[in-house]
Amino acid sequence: MSVNGPHGEPTGARLLVVDDEPAMIRTLRTNLRGHNFQVETAENAAEAKASYDRRAPDLILLDLNLPDGDGFEVVRHIRERSGTPIIVLSARGGERDKVNALDLGADDYITKPFGIDELLARVRVALRHLARPKAGTERRIHSGELVADLERREVTVGDRAVHLTPTEYDLLKVFLTNPNKVLTDRMLLQQVWGPDYGDESHYLHVYVARLRRKIEDDPQEPRYLVTEPGVGYRFRSEEL
């Protein structure tokens, strides 16, 4: 099973593709099989849930727009049972839907129409997270020049020590322990400020801007803390 593919990803992983467009299903199935994945497909929410229960796939590609009910129901169903990565496929303009799906526990999203390489890259990232030790258990986190020592609460960029306020540090820690994962404003607010927060996105924007000034070479063109327009932020880790 853990033969590594041409890109170093574990091959033979089982994927479940859920989409109501036959042409899209056919294309994804053919392509993913060609990339050595095992592919199951489902055309509606009921089939998707049944397939998940039966086959326990390693990753789910899920279109939110399903004929017999919404894709959110599928996200909920899976999250009640496991942390299997879910990548949501959704139409452009459906920012609300993406945020909802992510808040429900989806791991990532990709906007239709998408480039097939981009999709494969996201699939690989999500699968690699599975293979790595549980994020947050490591004491030192690297990404490019950014190094964080979680035991000593120290952050350095290159050989420069970065001084962070407690809130800034907490926020950065959430990012560092969820590398390459889209985090919605709500998730970040609740993890850093507490469960009573969720709508105060402006707090978040202020702190993200401060963090960028401290850790990014060019805060206008962030290398680590990337904005996901209309959805939230993503910490782009270079250690994969």
Binding site: R26, L28, T30
Partner: protein, 502 residues
């Protein structure tokens, strides 16, 4: 003539009283005699008012003196005591007469006010009707009847009241009012923002005087009332004038309210149109982007160099590209068709065709769409040829079959039946899908209306049936949802057998 009546009555009352007293004079004491005269004066006062009462008092005084106070038949009074009681009598007669007359006037005024209040209350009640045209017509008729006028017209901005509300006793009165209003319309073409009219209080129309009363609201003139009195009737009394003035004020409020309501409605219509446009753009872009996503993913796959695709893989990608490109073409075609039909540049090119061949042609072409459904054709043998536009009717049938395939579960049958039906050829497309709720059976032919069921998103742009309906109607046919079907949906359309039937 009417003015003399009270005085005649006063004279008559005193005369009759004098005669009655004369009959009994020998027995009755003088004091009682004077009381009888007082009664007569009171009656006159109550019945005819103050002037008549004063005349009656004077006459009674003179008659009393002349006939009953000794020496009789002279105005001279012998006893100075008699003179005193006579003077007292005159004073009492005048005072009681005046008081009684005033009471009468008060009662009359109260009655008048009550009538006004009732009239205005009724008018206000009529104005509460939400349809302004009907409300004003009812009010006009009500006021006309109450004031006994020949005609009454209410006019305001043509934008909220296209025609003046006219109440008239007869055709002549109606014409006089209408004439007056058309003369005025020339003066003021009801332009927005130019509501003040410079018109005199009277207009002459057809030889009759039409009085004009402005209707104002919040200091601006927003309309007018035209009043046509009964031919030969007296001027309106102060009470009627007051009534009209209050009615005009109430009308002002009513009209202003209607104007606000219309403004709110216009805004709402604009908002809805805007919403519809947004929804349409959303639907169209989704419908265009869905096939594009598959095309891009397939094309991207073909170009990937990290995998060596088998011929079969390549074929699958190519098939996705081809199918989805055709689908895009259909969506764009439908959009173009609708715009062509909507702007009226669509004329069917009719020639004679065999219906059976057309149906088979459609079934064949749609095979890629109906792969997941068995399709049953049931075409009557001896159908006559029909004059039709082959491309257009083929599209109608295609749209129906595509819908059936799209909305019914995979594996369920789609049936196409064609048969003769009373001078028409009847086409039926049936599926075993969820069916169409009776309430939506007509709505689905409206452009961009898509049905969504609970827990299911609406799909498609909502053009197929709208186009089908217009194409069938251009062939003098009809299209509808068969409501008698219990399971699934049956769409029916008919075309006349004789192409020249209009």
């Amino acid at each position: 003539m009417r003015r003399v009546v009270p005085y005649v009555a006063a004279i008559a009352a005193v005369a009759v009283t004098t005669m009655l007293i004369g009959l009994e004079a020998s027995r009755a004491p003088l004091a009682n005699v004077s009381m009888l005269y007082l009664v007569a004066v009171l009656i006159v006062a109550v019945a005819f008012g103050r002037p008549a009462a004063i005349v009656a008092s004077l006459l009674a005084f003179l008659s009393f003196d002349w006939f009953f106070v000794p020496p009789t038949h002279q105005l001279v009074v012998a006893n100075p005591e008699e003179l005193f009681s006579l003077a007292l009598f005159l004073l009492t007669a005048i005072v009681t007469g005046t008081l009684a007359a005033r009471e009468r006037a008060r009662a009359q005024e109260a009655k008048q006010r009550e009538r006004e209040a009732t009239l205005l209350y009724e008018a206000a009640f009529l104005m509460a009707e939400p349809d302004l045209e009907r409300a004003l017509a009812a009010v006009a008729e009500h006021l006309r009847g109450a004031l006994d006028l020949d005609g009454l017209a209410i006019e305001t901005d043509a934008e909220i009241l296209p025609r003046p509300a006219i109440a008239a006793r007869d055709e002549a009165a109606r014409l006089a009012l209408r004439g007056a209003s058309s003369e005025l319309r020339v003066l003021d073409p009801h332009r927005r923002g130019r509501r003040i009219r410079l018109i005199g209080p009277r207009q002459h129309s057809g030889g009759r005087v039409v009085r004009v009363l402005p209707i104002s609201a919040a200091g601006a003139r927003i309309g007018r009332m035209q009043i046509l009195r009964r031919a030969g009737a007296a001027e309106l009394g102060p009470s009627d004038e007051r009534l009209l003035a209050i009615a005009a004020a109430q009308l002002g409020v009513t009209i202003e309210r209607a104007r606000f309501r219309k403004k709110a409605l216009d805004t709402e219509v604009l908002r809805r149109a805007d919403e519809l446009k947004t929804e349409l753009l959303h639907a169209v872009s989704h419908e265009l982007r869905t096939p594009l996503a598959s095309i891009l993913a397939s094309a991207g796959s073909l170009r990937q160099r990290d995998v060596v695709w088998t011929d079969r893989d390549r074929d699958e990608f190519a098939m996705s590209i081809q199918e989805e490109a055709l689908r895009l073409d259909r969506v764009v075609g439908n959009l173009l068709d609708l715009s062509r039909i909507e702007n009226g540049s669509f004329v069917p090119h009719k020639t004679w065709h065999d219906v059976g061949a057309l149906v088979e042609d459609v079934a064949g072409r749609l095979r890629p769409v109906t792969t997941e459904h068995p399709v049953r054709l049931d075409v009557q043998e001896d159908l006559p040829p029909i004059e039709l536009d082959y491309v257009e009717i083929q599209q109608v049938l295609s749209n129906l079959v595509e819908n059936a395939a799209k909305f019914s579960p995979p594996g369920s049958e789609i049936a196409i039946r064609v048969g003769r039906d009373d001078g028409h050829v009847r086409f039926e497309v049936s599926d075993r899908g969820p069916g169409i709720p009776a309430a939506d059976a007509d709505r689905i032919f409206v452009p961009f209306v898509r049905l969504s069921r609970p827990g299911q998103s609406a799909r498609g742009v909502g053009l197929g049936l709208a186009i089908a309906k217009r194409l069938v109607e251009a062939h003098d046919g009809a299209i509808w949802v068969d409501r008698e079907v219990r399971e699934g949906t049956r769409m029916v359309f008919t075309l006349p057998v004789r192409g020249d039937v209009r």
